[in-house]
């Protein structure tokens, strides 16, 4: 914890240093100069409104991408003949630039919430699928034989035999997933939504207001750090308990 705090303080110090050298608040304001705009945005309710819009989109896209990617990765990892058919698709989608998918979704579906969430989800699914497929390929064949002979129920096999073996892969996909998803959500908002952090950044970019661009960006980074520390890491610790016991 102390190392983490020191490391973050170091980053803050670096910011001070660069801002002091730049000596131009229009380019990079000093950290303390963000307090008054932050307070103003909080008081007006703007910040929390846009923060919650973005957070809802992140939660939707994350849930959809993780569950669909998990299912697809499992099927592709467990059934090689399905994998042979779907693998070329996976490669195409993995290499499709996020921007292209976003623009196409907006063009085909319209400038609405559905298009925004589908665009982000489609951007993330191939990545989750690739990671989970790797995990499904490395499942223990002896455990599989054991569940076969004892005629364990399918539901129980998934819950107690397959998913626990995939836990490190799921955690990896979730961690890299949440980071990538919120960045793509901002682009989606930047291009075609009328609220959310990405929209606000677009607005203040056009007004050349670096202070508010930073206020909005940093508040969402703070939210994501809290998600990492309060949800992801405790969950990981819980599922890893058997390794350290």
């Amino acid at each position: 914890m102390s190392v983490r705090a020191f490391s973050l303080l170091g980053l803050l110090g670096f910011w001070f240093l660069v801002a002091w050298i730049a000596a131009d608040p229009l380019v990079l304001p000093m950290p303390q100069e963000l307090f008054s705009p932050l307070w103003a945005e909080l008081k007006s309710g703007e910040l929390l409104f846009h923060l919650s819009r973005t957070l809802i989109r992140v939660i939707w896209a994350f849930t959809l991408a993780m569950s669909l990617g998990l299912a697809l990765g499992l099927v592709m990892g467990l059934f090689p003949h399905v994998d042979r058919w779907l693998d070329p698709w996976l490669v195409v989608f993995l290499n499709l630039p996020a921007l292209v998918l976003i623009v196409l979704c907006y063009l085909w579906i319209g400038l609405n919430e559905t298009a925004a969430i589908i665009a982000v989800t489609l951007n993330k699914i191939p990545n989750v699928t690739t990671i989970i497929r790797e995990g499904a390929r490395s499942l223990d064949p002896n455990l599989k034989a054991m569940t076969q002979v004892f005629r364990m129920r399918k539901q129980s096999v998934l819950q107690h035999v397959i998913l626990p073996q995939l836990a490190p892969f799921i955690a990896g996909a979730a961690r890299s997933g949440i980071a990538v998803i919120w960045k793509i959500v901002l682009v989606v908002e930047f291009l075609g939504r009328s609220n959310g952090i990405g929209f606000q950044i677009h607005l203040y970019f056009q007004l050349f207001d670096v202070r508010l661009v930073l206020v909005y960006a940093l508040s969402f980074i703070t939210v994501m750090l809290l998600v990492e520390w309060l949800i992801l890491q405790p969950w990981e610790k819980r599922v890893r308990r058997w390794r350290t016991a």
Partner: protein, 202 residues
């Protein structure tokens, strides 16, 4: 009754097993002996239904159990759950009974990784017997244990077999082990391997 009739089994173009026929009655124990690499474990996988790719038929009961060379436990679930999840029909007291049967009554809440190898093997044995199987399959269950532990395991297995009375098929390369547990010894030999000797003991 279990009837095994394996006409042939190949890996690619290489035949490994040929013309192996035998029956096992309830309460009987059959040991399959033979040098390592001969295909004993392959035969067990065919009998257990793990590998369906062979010519021939095996009639087997629904309620089967298997004990592998390795304990093959769910390392992320407690010792208790390792029996309960495989046998959801068992009551809590039946699971505890199965654990105390192999001397693990006080380990129920630990993870398998916290047990010694000998204890893990006993847990695997308890899991095998807990469901009162009609057919029990064991693949070298006493291999690579020190002499004392192996002897304890053998005694334990003997007791559990006589209590549960399943049809048992087990693979070993140790003739004394085979003689101690088995009512019938089958010896595999040749290339492809086939039944060379059928010896009835008891």
């Amino acid at each position: 009754m279990i009837s095994v009739d394996v006409r042939s089994k190949s890996y690619g173009d290489v035949p490994v097993l040929q013309d192996i026929q035998f029956d096992v009655e309830q309460g009987q124990t059959v040991a399959i002996l033979g040098p390592s690499g001969i295909g004993k474990s392959t035969l067990l996988r065919l009998i257990a239904g793990i590998d369906p790719k062979f010519e021939g038929t095996v009639s087997r009961p629904k309620n089967m159990a298997i004990v592998f060379q390795e304990p093959t436990l769910l390392l992320w679930r407690s010792v208790f759950d390792n029996i309960q999840l495989i046998h959801p029909e068992l009551s809590e007291s039946a699971v505890r009974e199965a654990l105390s049967e192999v001397g693990l009554a006080d380990k129920a809440d630990l993870f398998p990784g916290q047990l010694s190898l000998g204890q893990q093997r006993r847990l695997s044995l308890a899991r095998g017997f807990a469901g009162n199987p009609d057919l029990l399959i064991m693949d070298e269950p006493f291999v690579s244990l020190d002499e004392k532990t192996a002897d304890e395991m053998l005694t334990l297995t003997e007791r559990l077999i006589s209590k549960t009375q399943p049809a048992t098929i087990f693979v070993t390369h140790d003739t004394t082990e085979a003689a101690r547990l088995a009512t019938q010894i089958l010896t595999l030999d040749g290339q492809p391997a086939t039944l060379k000797i059928k010896e009835t003991l008891k």
